[in-house]
């Protein structure tokens, strides 16, 4: 700092640093004290941060995963708006990343109405925002695969019509390196031959997707400390003929821009319309979505087909496909 007379800007910076230090000090205290309390809170995230919230949680904005990044993420991606941690928002995937280049995740919402948008964020990815989904006439359930740079909470923030964000998440462990190594089609050069190709189909959807109480979508990844449900022991419900699922497989290298000499090149938008030209869903995708993305979208009723799938990438290449329904 120059001289004694600090400018207004410098005073503000100083105050910000003091506040940050104060916050970090509280965090340290929280981490060292009341370990049992911390653990109990981790096992079962609060449905909504109420007045009885443990004081140390406040340092993390109530974040059950207690990452330093959450307050910033809420500011940067959720417009700083009010957010509650809500176990009706589920993020489901394997507890560890088998392949950090492609971690499969299903985000689902059980019991919330009037869902306007779903934003998926990964705390410890160099690029945190994975996608933003507006379900429109679809259910707020979306499945996709993403690149995970290191072990991290994976969060879904769901905004309802009243503007409130409901946040759920899962911890996924990882060997690392998902965002900073080139994909297979980039390495072998085949991406140029397949760019923009689309595979897809409309399926009958499993009935349990619609909150029928089936165990299918209970999270396999509970918050830290809780024992995972035994896999392979859960009966699977039959199919429901009225619901439908659109699955899409799109060929795109989805370069993150974090690999030397390969600029960011990724699918950025996707929309689906039905035969009546109603917009069924709208999706914005970002660099962390896996190479050659696979998506599943669910509908309460089978939309009248054919469905028109249109999209584009950040270089202006277009996707255009028609799927029978």
């Amino acid at each position: 700092m120059r001289g004694l007379g600090a400018s207004q800007q410098e005073r503000e910076e100083l105050e910000a640093r003091r506040q940050r230090f104060e916050r970090e000090r509280r965090v340290t205290l929280a981490a060292t004290g009341a370990l049992a309390l911390v653990f109990a809170a981790l096992v079962r995230p609060a449905r909504a941060a109420g007045p009885a919230e443990a004081p140390e949680l406040a340092a993390f904005d109530g974040d059950p995963y207690r990452t330093m990044s959450w307050p910033d993420m809420r500011r940067d991606y959720l417009g700083g708006q009010r957010a509650v941690f809500d176990d009706r928002v589920r993020v489901e995937g394997p507890a560890f990343a088998v392949d950090p280049m492609t971690v499969p995740v299903t985000v689902s919402v059980d019991g919330l109405t009037d869902v306007r948008r779903v934003i998926v964020l990964v705390d410890r990815n160099p690029i945190r925002k994975v996608l933003e989904y507006e379900p429109l006439l679809a259910t707020p359930t979306v499945s996709f695969r993403f690149k995970l740079e290191q072990a991290s909470p994976v969060r879904a923030a769901v905004q309802t019509g009243d503007g409130l964000w409901h946040v759920g998440g899962a911890l996924v462990d990882s060997a690392g390196g998902g965002c900073t190594v080139p994909g297979a089609t980039r390495k072998d050069g085949s991406w140029a031959k397949t760019l923009g190709q689309v595979r897809g189909r409309v399926f009958d959807a499993p009935s349990t997707l619609f909150g029928d109480g089936g165990p299918l979508l209970a999270s396999t990844v509970p918050a830290a400390g809780a024992a995972p449900a035994p896999r392979g022991s859960t009966p699977v419900a039959g199919l429901n003929a009225t619901g439908a699922r659109l699955r899409l497989h799109l060929m795109h290298p989805m370069d993150t821009g974090l690999v030397g000499g390969i600029p960011a090149f990724y699918l950025s938008r996707l929309e689906v319309r039905d035969a009546l030209d109603r917009e069924l869903l709208r999706l914005q995708t970002y660099e962390p979505v896996s190479e050659n993305p696979v998506f599943s979208f669910d509908f309460r009723e089978r939309p009248p087909g054919p469905l028109r799938v249109r999209g584009r990438d950040n270089n202006g290449n277009r996707i255009d496909a028609t799927v029978a329904s």
């Binding site: 492609t102 499945s143 396999t220 859960t234 699977v236 699955r247």
Partner: protein, 363 residues
């Protein structure tokens, strides 16, 4: 002069010339051979690992005269087991020892080499890697002075994957991996003097098979595929013991990072036709009879059938992970981690087959 200073042909000439004189006495004089040892493994065969001292607790169990298996834990990689989950083996030939796979780390290789020296007076003359996976060759630094052989396909795969293996195992196993760097095999299998019944012509889909001899010992081999792109099976002719690598998993969920289910099942059928009476799998206990083949085949067929059905019904990976798995498979070792890997490796192939092409980019 070190063995590696000799060319492969020169070395074999030395080996073969010395063979008749040494062969008769070597195996019989070896005090550690217990020809009556039970072939089927038990829990007691799992090594006693000392994490603090970084001692794998390797033990050589004689399966037949001059044939030893060194059994790893039937589990997934963890620091508690030293990440030793592989069965390696060594065979005395009268003129030296053939080592089959070198284990998971430099330290493992060193302890294996020390164990061999305690078990037999013969020097190590050759190393053979049955496929490209990390625990088949990351112990090779302890065998840098010995010719190390693998099929050309396996050598190419190791070259491609070695860096990722090092990184991943360091992360999974920590300090056990200290000082481990991939030392790749330095020559092709089969050796030049092997009688190759079915030559592996370039691009040929036919398996290569044949015989070769070290000292007094005759081996037959066949190169199959499906677990990886090159799965070498080695059979000691005298004892009839087969080293079946990753094609057969016994009481353990198979690993599938390079698997192709169809070719794998076909390879198991070929393997069954060999009628081996004892099989040393790389993972899980040594078995008599065809049980290992039958179990592995049943599991792969179950995967093939179920995954195809799930894909036709439009299931996501998260749903596949919750689908029921027969109890007999859930009881196998490493289910909690390896089955998840199976799903993530294999299901996308079925998924893709169930999604027809519907359009392409309009640029």
């Amino acid at each position: 002069m070190s063995a590696s200073a000799l060319g492969p042909t020169a070395l074999l000439a030395v080996v073969l010339a010395a063979a008749p004189a040494l062969a008769a006495s070597a195996a019989a004089a070896d005090p550690s051979v217990r020809s009556t040892a039970p072939v089927e493994a038990t829990k007691a065969n799992a090594p006693q690992v000392d994490v603090a001292r970084k001692d794998y607790g390797l033990r050589a169990r004689a399966l037949a005269e001059g044939v030893w298996v060194v059994e790893g834990a039937n589990a997934d990689f963890t620091p508690a087991n030293g990440c030793n989950i592989i069965n390696t083996a060594f065979v005395s030939t009268g003129v030296g020892v053939l080592v089959i796979n070198t284990g998971t780390s430099r330290l493992y290789g060193e302890q294996l080499r020390a164990l061999i020296a305690q078990t037999t007076r013969e020097p190590v003359v050759q190393v053979l890697h049955l496929n490209l996976h990390p625990d088949y060759f990351l112990g090779s630094q302890a065998f840098a002075d010995v010719p190390r052989l693998a099929t050309p396909v396996t050598r190419e795969g190791m070259q491609r994957e070695a860096k990722a293996y090092e990184d991943n195992l360091y992360r999974l196993c920590g300090d056990w991996m200290r000082g481990t760097e991939a030392l790749l095999p330095d020559r092709d299998f089969p050796p030049a003097d092997a009688s190759t019944a079915t030559p592996a012509a370039a691009g040929s889909k036919l398996p290569a098979s044949g015989r070769f001899r070290i000292g007094t010992r005759e081996f037959s081999f066949v190169e199959l595929s499906g677990h990886t792109d090159s799965d070498l099976v080695l059979v000691d002719r005298a004892s009839g013991i087969g080293f079946v690598g990753g094609l057969v998993f016994v009481d353990r969920i198979p690993t599938t990072p390079h698997a192709k289910i169809g070719p794998w099942i076909a390879s198991l059928d070929r393997l069954a036709a060999l009628g081996l009476k004892t099989m040393v799998p790389s993972h899980g206990p040594v078995v008599s009879g065809p049980r290992g083949i039958d179990d592995t085949r049943a599991y792969l067929q179950w995967i093939d059938r179920e995954f195809a059905t799930y894909a036709r019904d439009g299931w996501e990976i998260s749903e596949v992970l919750r689908a029921p798995v027969p109890q007999r498979f859930r009881d196998w070792a490493a289910f909690d981690t390896e089955y998840v890997r199976n799903v993530v490796h294999l299901y996308p192939l079925y998924e893709r087959a169930a999604l027809p092409e519907v359009g392409s980019g309009a640029r």
